[in-house]
Amino acid sequence: MAPLVASQEELQRRRIIDINAETVTNIPSTDFPGHWPGESHGWALDQFKENFKVDYHRNDPHEASFSLIGLDAAVANAFRRILMAEIPTLAIEYVFVHNNTSVIQDEVLAQRLGLIPLKGSVDGINWMRWYRKPAEDEEASEDDGPSDFNTVVMHLVVECTKNANAHPDEEDPRKLYNHAHVYAKDISFAPVGRQDQYFVGDGAIQPVNPDILIAKMRPGQKIDMELHCIKGIGADHAKFSPVATASYRLMPDINILRPIIGDDAKKFAKCFPKGVIALEPVTSAEASSKGSGYEGHAGEQKAVVRDAFNDTVSRECLRHEEFQGKVKLGRIRDHFIFNVESTGQFESDTLFLESVKVLKLKCARWKRGLNDLMA
């Protein structure tokens, strides 16, 4: 017997997570074999290929927004988690303080430096490998310790001096002294070994934002530091996270069950963010059809859903007596609106592709590990 196929209405009902006045219902996904009697929900790649869809909304180097439609929450969440915690990036990890007479303590300064987002040639960053801390008790192997392929060296050497050219009445310390403020742009990159082939010109390792304030100084104070940047992942420390935010929300769904006309329609539109609900005149065809609820209302304004995308699902409309039973709010279970904001080391769209790659790589690795068990 061929497997049963659910009707379109039934499938649509299963796609919606119901948002009620005080509860959220129909939450878990049910598209698993054995859940619906007689229906086949087994994994089928061609079916997934057919149903899966990507809509792009925005693509800037530092921010991207796109919809993934037809995915399960488990997978979408894996991508989001990987974006935040498992994509390798370059950040300052070791700080060697040669001199620091500023008021900010060595360890606090080192912590601040670590959080500065860096950018540079993407090819070069991809060429770099993990830094392995040399073992303390064993003989150091050749691969351990800093090398050109695992460590980027930068220097922060600044000394605050009096500005002899300053106006005698000047009160702004930035004009009164040289280097009263230490900024991220004062960090200089020192290529080692083959790094000068990769990190050339604009591709040199540098802070993404040159104007990050690192420390403040007064004449006679000095900072002289050597900074070692290595690759790491966000799970180890947030400074290695390639994204400022990576989040998704589910596409809102507004279903007007019964007509909302006239002043009610205006009030209804006000319950939603601008542009979500539009007002349209009731056509004479609608007004003449019996049982539509529009009889005798030709020319009056009715509420229609124009763009549910921008809705915040505030449930405000569910609080009002006049809309009781006229509207149903929900979210579409398999429509994920992603928002990825890069810190600047990689472009935001490449970051998402990278996260897919990481998930695949993890699978491949574990699968290889299974071979040992099979043998």
Binding site: V54, Y56, F96, P146, L359, A364, K367, L373
Partner: protein, 155 residues
């Protein structure tokens, strides 16, 4: 602690490294092993993965549950707050193909069509196929979006 490297002392390019194969694995360093927990049989087994969390766990659970030959699959992180590197995550795969959904009144003896290990392997394969489709469709959508946008800017 690594020794300080001063840029004043120019380093010679390490000749032996130039021919070295680039490391394939950018994510993990150490070799990983799947552990089969005690009490497992051919068709019902628990596996333990070191250094994995909900990222891999939930996605894999979804992929395995999509397999019609799997009756039950779940995962747990037994001790959530242990340091990152020691927490284990457990994948329980127990398998029975129960062909009796439409004739529920007549319970049959479960028929096994696959082993737990095979189901686990298929879960990984399915997840990898899924990743390929996502990459492909995402790249297409992005390229199309970029093209449309550049056209709009020109006109």
């Amino acid at each position: 602690m690594p020794a300080s490297v001063h840029s004043q002392e120019p380093q010679e390019a390490d000749q032996s490294m130039i021919d070295a194969e680039p490391e394939v694995d950018p994510i993990m360093l150490e070799e990983k092993r799947v552990v089969v927990l005690p009490g497992s049989s051919e068709t019902s087994a628990s596996f333990q993965f070191e250094n994995e969390g909900h990222t891999m766990g939930n996605a894999l659970r979804y992929a395995i549950m999509k397999n019609p030959a799997v009756e039950f699959c779940g995962y747990t992180i037994p001790i959530p707050l242990t340091p990152r590197c020691t927490f284990a995550f457990r994948q329980l795969v127990s398998l029975t193909k129960w062909n009796g959904w439409r004739s529920c009144s007549l319970p049959r003896t479960p028929r096994y069509t696959t082993t737990a290990l095979e189901a686990l392997e298929k879960g990984f394969s399915d997840l990898m196929d899924l990743c390929d489709v996502v990459t492909e469709k995402f790249t297409d959508a992005r390229d199309q979006f970029n093209e449309e946008n550049s056209n709009r800017m020109q006109s």
